[in-house]
């Protein structure tokens, strides 16, 4: 319901401009607000007659307001402006609709998770905790360690693959790799988990649970994302810069390291950060490869570890008696995950702004 007629003189009748251009009249700027306020009042009256729920309340207001505004505008401003207003209403409604699940999700998680967002949650594990208290210290560090290891594995592999595809690859091999990366992008996360589990049970026997196995599983998910984003960014580096370096007698590999990568560093950093954000909340692969523990284990090469998503899963599905304390902890873990993803997104934005090309003019 934004204003589409800003800055236009307010008149209510069609006018004839001296040059001969016909312009429709313009409704005052507050018209759309007034119309929707009127629609709201009308629906409130209807509410008195038949009790409406919130969803119907909003729906009726939107439809009534849109129709009224369209009719009014059609009569006063002409067809084109009326259509413009109609489309504006539809777009705004669609936007509002899209925001509903997002806002309600954030509201839900924050309101339920805030209760246990205390010092104890960050400093204690679940050792010896029955019922109240306890924390996710072990799960927070587990998530950081396993995600860090995942990035350590995925970034070199993904970056080098992207460099190969953009700078060296040609013909069949390039097409085959591109196809495989595409396929990998769509792999269900549980399949990645089962793959890593099967791989590690070859060496450590069935029932193996290791932090590093989780990192391998997450890498299967992260590598294609890194490849894709790095590939797009490297393609954006103008060919002229490569040619400028070649013409100075710089070998190809040095051109890539010293010219192409520095030019693309902002985009690469952003892509990698978003790829980390993509895997940090994965649950299924960690469930089968890393498992869960109540004690703190910070060694990814030795036995089970706790991670925030799996922690939340078990607190919710096996809360014990009484259940409410564990369920509170699950929500707080979920809240932390959302905060983590949000921080990563902010970092990605900062990176891309920090390394944006400067003109210095």
């Amino acid at each position: 319901m934004s204003q589409t007629t800003a800055g236009v003189p307010e008149t209510t009748t069609p006018t004839q401009v001296p040059g001969g251009l016909r312009t429709g009249g313009r409704l005052p700027r507050w018209t759309s607000w007034a119309v929707f306020a009127g629609a709201l009042a009308a629906v409130a009256l209807l509410d008195l007659a038949v009790a409406l729920n919130t969803a119907l309340y909003v729906l009726f207001t939107a439809v009534l307001g849109t129709v009224a505004l369209f009719g009014l505008s059609r009569a006063a401003e002409g067809r084109r402006t009326a259509l413009d207003r109609l489309v504006t209403c539809v777009v705004a409604s669609a936007f509002g609709l899209a925001m509903v699940p997002l806002v309600s999700l954030i509201y839900e998680v924050v309101s339920r998770g805030i209760a246990r967002l205390d010092g104890e949650f960050f400093t204690f594990s679940l050792v010896g905790v029955v019922g109240e208290g306890g924390g996710a210290y072990h799960a927070i560090f587990g998530t950081l360690i396993i995600t860090g290891l995942t990035a350590l594995i995925s970034v070199p592999i993904g970056l080098l693959t992207a460099i190969y595809l953009v700078e060296y690859g040609a013909g069949r091999l390039k097409r085959a790799i591109t196809f495989l990366v595409d396929v990998m992008t769509g792999i269900p996360s549980i399949v990645a988990g089962l793959f890593a589990y099967a791989l590690f049970s070859i060496f450590f026997g069935p029932g193996v649970r290791l932090g590093i196995a989780g990192s391998v599983a997450l890498s299967v998910l992260m590598v294609p994302v890194v490849v894709r984003s790095a590939e797009e960014v490297l393609k954006l580096v103008p060919n002229e810069l490569r040619e400028a370096a070649y013409a100075l007698g710089v070998p190809k590999w040095r051109t890539i390291v010293k010219v192409v990568l520095p030019t693309a560093v902002g985009g690469l950093g952003t892509g990698i950060t978003l790829a980390v954000a993509r895997v940090v909340g994965e649950t299924a692969p960690l469930l089968v490869t890393v498992g869960i523990t109540n004690a703190t284990n910070l060694n990814p090469f030795d036995g089970r570890m706790a991670t925030l998503p799996v922690y939340a899963f078990y607190q919710l599905t096996q809360p014990g008696v009484p259940p409410e304390f564990a369920i509170d902890r699950a929500w707080t873990a979920a809240l932390l995950l959302i905060v983590l993803v949000m921080v990563l997104n902010v970092v990605a934005r900062l990176i891309s702004r920090l390394f944006a090309p400067t003109t210095g003019r």
């Binding site: 002229e240 040619e243 100075l248 007698g249 040095r254």
Partner: protein, 259 residues
């Protein structure tokens, strides 16, 4: 040190497409050689094959000989990277490295090749190159600012400074002034007259007056019809080409009757 280049029976291909055919020509040291001709007749392609930049495109290849002071540049044991160190290139669109400062752009040929050089020597080289490119006075107090903040004409002179900082023997320029205003164009033309004391210069241009003003030798490329390879129709002293060319096509082109 300027060097002489002898090209014989050169055919240049993009995949199966022969873009340039049968070029035989000698380029004199310490002089400016201009290449003129209508668009698409292969001037850029020919220029890029002199310093082996042509082959960086997939499928692009060359047949024939390019000999610089007795050495075949396309010999089996010759590294194209070495060829490009000896034959520098300036492109149509100014292409300074956007992530580097003005200073670093000029020093790029040294730095990117990891050649060791004392800071004072490098400072001297940067200053000399910028002076040779007629840019020193304009940028001396902002050497550490990004190169992308310069005007188009300044950027192009920066690219020339960058190319001569590696002290090549030959300088190739592909329409170096076509994206520039008349003042910057004049600055670049003056520059070429100075640079030819030290370098062999080959320049592609669409501007007849420019070719007449700056060059000693002129070559006219032409295309008999679309899809056919471009050929070097006539090569002679600039004076002769512009006053009394042998070929009818050259005369037509120069007098503006086609192309």
């Amino acid at each position: 040190m300027a060097k002489r280049i002898d090209i014989s029976d050169l055919d240049i291909f993009y995949g199966d497409f022969r873009a340039v055919a049968d070029v035989t020509v000698s380029i004199e040291p310490r002089s400016v050689t201009a290449l003129i001709g209508p668009s698409g007749c292969g001037k850029s392609t020919f220029l890029r094959s002199i310093n082996r930049m042509h082959e960086v495109l997939p499928g692009a290849r060359v047949e024939g000989k390019v000999v610089m002071d007795g050495q075949d540049l396309y010999g089996a044991d010759v590294d194209p990277v070495d060829v490009r160190r000896q034959i520098g290139m300036v492109f149509q669109r100014p292409n300074p490295f956007p992530t580097m400062s003005i200073y670093d752009n000029v020093a790029a040929g040294i730095r990117l090749n990891a050649r060791r050089m004392a800071k004072t020597d490098l400072d001297g080289l940067v200053e000399r190159s910028l002076q040779a490119a007629n840019l020193w006075r304009e940028v001396r107090d902002r050497l550490n600012r990004p190169a992308s903040g310069l005007s188009g004409g300044q950027q192009q002179r920066l690219c020339i400074a960058r190319a001569i900082a590696v002290e090549p023997d030959v300088l190739l320029m592909d329409e170096p002034a076509s994206a520039l205003d008349p003042i910057s164009t004049l600055a670049i033309e003056d520059l070429m007259t100075e640079l030819k004391e030290r370098f062999t210069i080959v320049i592609v241009t669409h501007n007849m007056q420019q070719a007449a003003r700056v060059s000693e030798q002129t070559g006219f490329f032409n295309l008999s019809s679309a899809g056919q390879p471009g050929r070097l129709v006539e090569f002679d002293s600039t004076e002769k080409i512009f006053s009394n060319p042998e070929q009818k096509a050259t005369e037509d082109y120069i007098s503006g009757r086609f192309g």
